[in-house]
Amino acid sequence: MGDRARWRAFLALSHARLREYYREPEVLFWGFAFPLLLSAALALAFRDRPSDPSRVIVLEGPGAERVAAALAKSTLVRVEVASEDAAARALGMGRADVVVVPAAEGNGAAGVEYRFDPSRPEAGVARARADDALQRAAGRSDPLPSRDVPVREPGGRYVDFLVPGLIGMNLMSGGMWGVGFVLVDMRIRRLLKRLLATPMRPADFLAAQMTTRVAFTAVEVGFLLAFARLALGVPVRGRLASVLAVALLGALCFAGLGLLVACRAQKIETVSGLMNVVMLPMFVGSGVFFSVERFPEAVQPVLRALPLTALNDALRAVILEGAGLAGQAPRLALLAVWGGVSFVLGLRLFRWF
């Protein structure tokens, strides 16, 4: 068969696939509305505001009134006087950051004691703020004059961290479901078998599946990025072409993984289970919602080897830091290897019925 005929078949298969995509309301929801809602909701939950005042409890007893009054002068703390029991409970439940215990008159001067959990960063801050207010009230004068100048750096907020991660996650689930689920569905309906009985070239068919997935991805990513830029003020510092190139490679990589996962499954339940096994560790461990650095040193090399980690890191570097593609070469190579190996293996093992 001539190349022209093959191209015609490839284009017709791609076109049919695209039509199925955009006639499926769920696809529009998961591809567009869901990531948008998720990023908006998370942006709201973790929005940046002037940091909350620290919650300080002063223990009831002699001297409590005096200490509370001194603390109340500071705008950085919110003071409350409570009993020993109530204070311990509030501290345990995280409703208070620090408990101030006015010390007994024992050694003459009216000292204080701070009770807090040093492993909680906000508790340390609360202790410092309370101490600062009390020391000043007690007459401390600062020998070094200082002045605060508030600065807001776009790109450093949580939502800025989040958006590239969500794009990566979307590329992963879109690629895997969009290819894997669709193939298994076609196998169950015996449509794959029917197509195999035509002169269609199997590789053309699979290429059409992956191409349409990638084309769709470009639209999804562009949409999400525009929303993040315009509505959430997320900076896009790298070149748009670089962002798109990273996203397309990511989409191809996960389309390949989707093919591999779907290559033999005969039931939707099987492929769903496999998808979850593959995707769940990456949802958690690949730095979608929080940085990979939060994990212990020992597992970091494993997490860094996952395709979604590489994709998220590359997306963050390009979007937030304005990095060029060359600097991302190792991550992009990792994506290419994951995708390429999956595709070849999936093709080898593929069952048409």
Binding site: L11, A12, A16, L191, A197, T198, P199
Partner: protein, 310 residues
Amino acid sequence: MSAPAAAVRELRKSYGRVEAVCGLSFEIAPAECFGLLGPNGAGKTTTVEILEGLLRPGSGEVEVLGRRWGSDDHEIRQRIGVCLQQTVLSEKLEVGETVALFRSLYRDGRPPEEVIEEVGLAEKRRARVGALSGGQKQRLAVACALVGDPELLFLDEPTTGLDPQSRRQVWDIVGALKSRGRTVVLTTHYMDEAEKLCDRVAVVDHGRTIAEGTPRELIRRLGGDHVLEVTLEDGASPPRPEAFADLPSVRSARSEASHLVLTVGEPHLAIPALLERLRQGGVSPASLGTRHASLEDVFVSLTGRHLRDG
């Protein structure tokens, strides 16, 4: 006979320890409609899917349009049309889009509109596949098999599960195809379908051909064109069929439940003698009917079972 459109010789195929096809041989002549007739599980679909190149034969020879699977796959696929037993086409595509998609997979073919017209779906051209009835979906599947203008068309159980009207529509499509000189291979477990459509049938049971010929030949081989069915009154002891085998013009006799079934050449000779014999035996018939012998009778006389019993 000129070179056959397709041929299998000593075809065998096993699934694990189950032998689905055990030594099947037949030839299909160009421009004929050849039927594989048999109960469910007889090996019809396995045989057809081997001919379609979807399954590999265990052993034996398979030739399609003078070529062999394994060396000329692409060329064969360009020239055959396939309608699988069940295919659920994409529900989101329109009828016209679906046929056009299949057209695009073939080098040569017919205009999609023409084929859609031929299967009677012209009015549904813009309808989504998901909105079609079962019969319409089946005709669409046939259209997808026709749009590559195949020299050889395979239809696997094309009317199973369809209502009578849809069945007749599918039959008309096959009839039109035959008149255009195309070869059709069809599997069915409906006798009437095989008798109406097929020039020749192979009756298949347990993976073997148990009879082959034109429907008329097979029926004639029973020895009689007519079947007498006698139902006895309730409570009467079932008659031994051998007691009626010697009546004039009776070719064979068998009993089925409370029926006595005789294959006869000339009913006007057999009926009076039968009634006389029954009267002598002291039993009177509750009903007596005659009908033309069918392929069903051929199958029953060869296997002792009805086709639909499986």
